[in-house]
Symmetry: C2
Subunit: 202 residues, 2 copies
């Protein structure tokens, strides 16, 4: 029973949002119509604006509506000589929130996957190579995901870095801090064994 | 650290949706940018269209982009002689899903709440009164929420019906007392329809 075709379309369209099923889409549509039309109109405008105008930073490939993102444009970060390679733009947010890193980034927007036709150029490694050649980068930190593909991608980039005599490091993978050893999956536990370090008693 | 002001605005704007906190808003924004820009643009257009063009049915006050909603315009439903009074447009959806009812509706868009300045005219009872006077309505089914305010509103409307010698019934208390009509399962709602009783004004 379609009471309002436009309302039905809205419920359907809201389901493009991740984690939104038919019930929550319905609740969202009725909530906006009943209590927050102003917020709904504003969301529509910003959403359209973002989808059309947000592209990729020419240097690091993260999302930005400008040619260069604010991190790449930051002189202090340029002077750090560090470049952190991640798979997705949201990985940058996660790393920024740690407050541990103050260099720049490079976003692959994926990982190497030859069987799916995703080679070095598909993940921007041609752009990365040029940066390694032209900028004064001292260390490339490989923060791709600890999966088979992420590891393979990290290794591939490490070899590229070697050609330019640039140090490549891989972030440590292991038992999460505060985590419980017996609840950690086997792969993670293997990583944490392989990545063990000598305890410095000095 | 604002990497992209427009992306930050989008995350903020998405929070007008019920049940969407900072983390899910962020996940939604990145998901659309990375995997479904087409869906995002379509959502923006439909959302704007809906917020601007969806008004209220002149007869029953539910949401519709036309003057009269499809239920009110349905001749079979007009001939049923039944009118079901609910508090919100989404209550109609819940009742329609039971398949137990084939009459028309009247949406109060609230309930009587004198302390908040919500009197009969604020919940459309002037319009309802005209309908009771002019249409051939045999029964008014009061399906307001089983709360103190919902009960008071039902009683008020029952007295109005009495002036026009129209039978007023209240849906049965299969609906949990203090509960919210739209969250009740279909079976319970069906039972409460079948068990409706005439309101005794004595
Ligand atoms: Zn950048
Ligand atoms: Zn209507």
């Amino acid at each position: 029973m379609q009471i309002s075709p436009l309302l039905e379309s809205l419920v359907e369209a809201l389901r493009c949002l991740p984690g939104v099923g038919p019930k929550s889409a319905q609740r969202m549509a009725y909530h906006l119509l009943q209590r927050d039309r102003h917020g709904g109109i504003k969301l529509a405008q910003i959403l359209h604006d973002a989808m059309v105008n947000i592209g990729h930073c020419q240097d690091c490939r993260t999302f930005t509506e400008q040619e260069q993102c604010r991190i790449c444009g930051n002189i202090k970060r340029q002077q750090s000589g560090q470049l952190c390679v991640v798979e997705t733009p949201s990985d940058i947010l996660a790393i920024e929130q740690t407050g541990q890193y103050s260099g720049r980034y490079f976003v692959l927007l994926g990982h190497l996957s030859p069987l799916d036709g995703i080679g070095p150029n598909e993940i921007g490694l041609d752009i990365l190579k040029q940066r390694l050649a032209n900028e004064s980068i001292k260390e490339v930190i490989l923060a791709t995901n600890p999966t088979i593909e992420g590891d393979a991608t990290a290794n591939f980039i490490a070899q590229m870095c070697d050609q330019f005599n640039i140090v490549a490091t891989r972030i440590a993978h292991g038992v999460p801090v505060g985590g419980d050893l017996e609840t950690v999956d086997g792969t993670t536990l293997s990583h944490s064994f392989l990545g063990r370090q000598k305890i410095d008693l000095s």
